[in-house]
Symmetry: C2
Subunit: 232 residues, 2 copies
C-alpha cells in the first residue's frame, strides 16, 4: 500500500488519461520535454506502466494527434464548398495554435490514424459536394498540403531580437547589406505594426491570404472544367 506517493487517490490509468496528460505536458513544458519517463512521473506512475496503454512512443504521438484533431469543429452543413472548407481550415488553425507542438508532430507521423483519415475524408467530401471532379479534387488536396491542418511552413521563424537596441541596429544593417531583398520586405512589414525583422508578420493574415489565393485558384479551375488531360 505504498503506491500513492502524493497521498491523493489517483483515478486508474487508461489510454485517454495518458493521452490527455501527454497533450497537457507538451502544451505546458514543450514537446522536447515529453518523454515516456517524464510523462510517467507526471502521472505518478512507473514508466513501464504506460506501456499497458500505448504500445510505444510512436503510438503515444499518434494518440496525441488524434486528441488535437478531435478538437477541430465539425463541418458546417448547408454552406458553399468554399466558405465551408475555409471555415473548417480556420478552425483547424485555431486548434493548432493552442498546441504549438502539434504541427510538427502531425508532419512526423509516418502513417495516418483513422481519426486523421476521417478529417481528410471529410474535406475531400466537401470538394466533391461542391461539384469538383474526382480528378481535380485529388490535385487540389495535394496543393493544399499541410494547410488543411491550419499551418504553413514558416520560412523565417520568428527569432527573438537582441534586447540591446544598438545590437538590433547592427543586426539590421548587416541584413540590409547581405540580404537586401529580404531586408526590404521585412522593413515594409515592420512598418505596418511598429515591429522589426522576425516579428513583423501577421501570421493570421498570411495564412488567410494563402488559403484564399488557393481556394480562388481552385474555383477558377473548377469553373473552367479543368481535367488532367485538358490542362488549361
Amino acid at each position: 500500500m505504498v503506491q500513492q506517493v502524493d497521498g491523493a487517490r489517483r483515478a486508474p490509468l487508461n489510454r485517454d488519461r495518458v493521452l490527455r496528460a501527454a497533450v497537457a505536458l507538451a502544451d505546458n513544458a514543450g514537446i522536447e520535454t515529453l518523454s515516456m519517463r517524464n510523462l510517467a512521473q507526471e502521472l505518478g506512475v512507473v514508466p513501464m506502466a504506460l506501456y499497458k496503454h500505448v504500445a510505444n512512443k510512436e503510438q503515444l504521438l499518434d494518440g496525441m494527434v488524434d486528441v488535437v484533431v478531435g478538437e477541430i469543429d465539425p463541418p458546417v452543413s448547408g454552406t458553399d464548398w468554399k466558405v465551408g472548407i475555409r471555415q473548417r481550415i480556420l478552425s483547424a488553425r485555431k486548434v493548432l495554435l493552442q498546441h504549438p507542438w502539434a504541427s510538427r508532430v502531425i508532419e512526423s507521423r509516418p502513417q495516418p490514424t483513422p481519426v486523421v483519415l476521417d478529417y481528410l475524408n471529410s474535406i475531400v467530401g466537401m470538394f466533391r459536394a461542391g461539384g469538383f471532379s474526382v480528378d481535380l479534387t485529388h490535385h487540389v488536396m495535394h496543393v493544399l498540403g499541410s494547410r488543411v491542418w491550419g499551418f504553413t511552413q514558416e520560412l523565417f521563424p520568428a527569432s527573438p531580437l537582441p534586447a540591446d537596441p544598438e545590437k538590433q541596429e547592427a543586426m539590421f544593417h548587416e541584413m540590409a547589406g547581405r540580404y537586401p531583398h529580404i531586408a526590404e520586405i521585412a522593413m515594409a512589414a515592420a512598418h505596418d505594426e511598429a515591429s522589426v525583422v522576425g516579428h513583423s508578420c501577421d501570421d493570421q493574415f498570411e495564412f488567410e491570404f494563402a488559403v484564399d489565393l488557393l481556394l480562388d485558384g481552385f474555383e477558377r479551375l473548377h469553373e473552367q472544367g479543368w481535367t488532367s488531360t485538358n490542362r488549361s
Copy 2:
C-alpha cells in the same frame, strides 16, 4: 602511432569533410542513423574529435543543410520572373530528391544560416526584378512556403502495401467503406498508372501542378495591381 586503425592515411579532419561525411551517412543509412558517435566512427575518429569542427549536433545539421542548398542551380539570368523562379524551384526539388532527409531537416532548423538566407534573398530578388511590389512579394513568399525548397508536405505518405493481394483487397474494401472520398480519389489516380492506394501519385506532377497554380495566382494579383490596402 596507433591512431590509424584501418591502415589508410586519413586526410586531416576539417569542417567540410565532417559535413560531407554527415550528408553521405544520412543519404546512405538514413537520418535516424546519423549520430555524433556513428559519424565519428565513419570518419575513423573519436566522437569528441568532431566537436573541434562543429559546436554541437545542431550546427552539424545546419552545415548539412548548407551543403544541400549549395547544390541548387544558380539563377538563370535573362528570363521572365515566372520561368526563372519555376526553374530555380524545380532545381531545388531535384536536389532535395537526392537527399530525402533534407526537407525534414530544413524544416527543423530554428534559425536560417547565411547560405539559406542567400537562397531566399535571391528568390525574393527575382520577384522584385519581375516588377512585384515589396508588399506583394512579401506575401507570395509566405504562400510559397516550403515549396521554395522543392517539397510539399505529403498528406498521404506512401505506405508499403501488404504483398499478399488478398490482404490488399481487404484493405481496399475497408478504405472504401470508412473513407469513401479518399478511396475515390485514390482509385482514380491508381487508374492512370496500374498502381494502388498510397503508391498512386505522380509526385512530380503534383508538385508542378501546385507551383504553377501558385505562380499563376501570383501573376494575376501582380497584373491586377494588388496591394494589401486594396484587396481584390
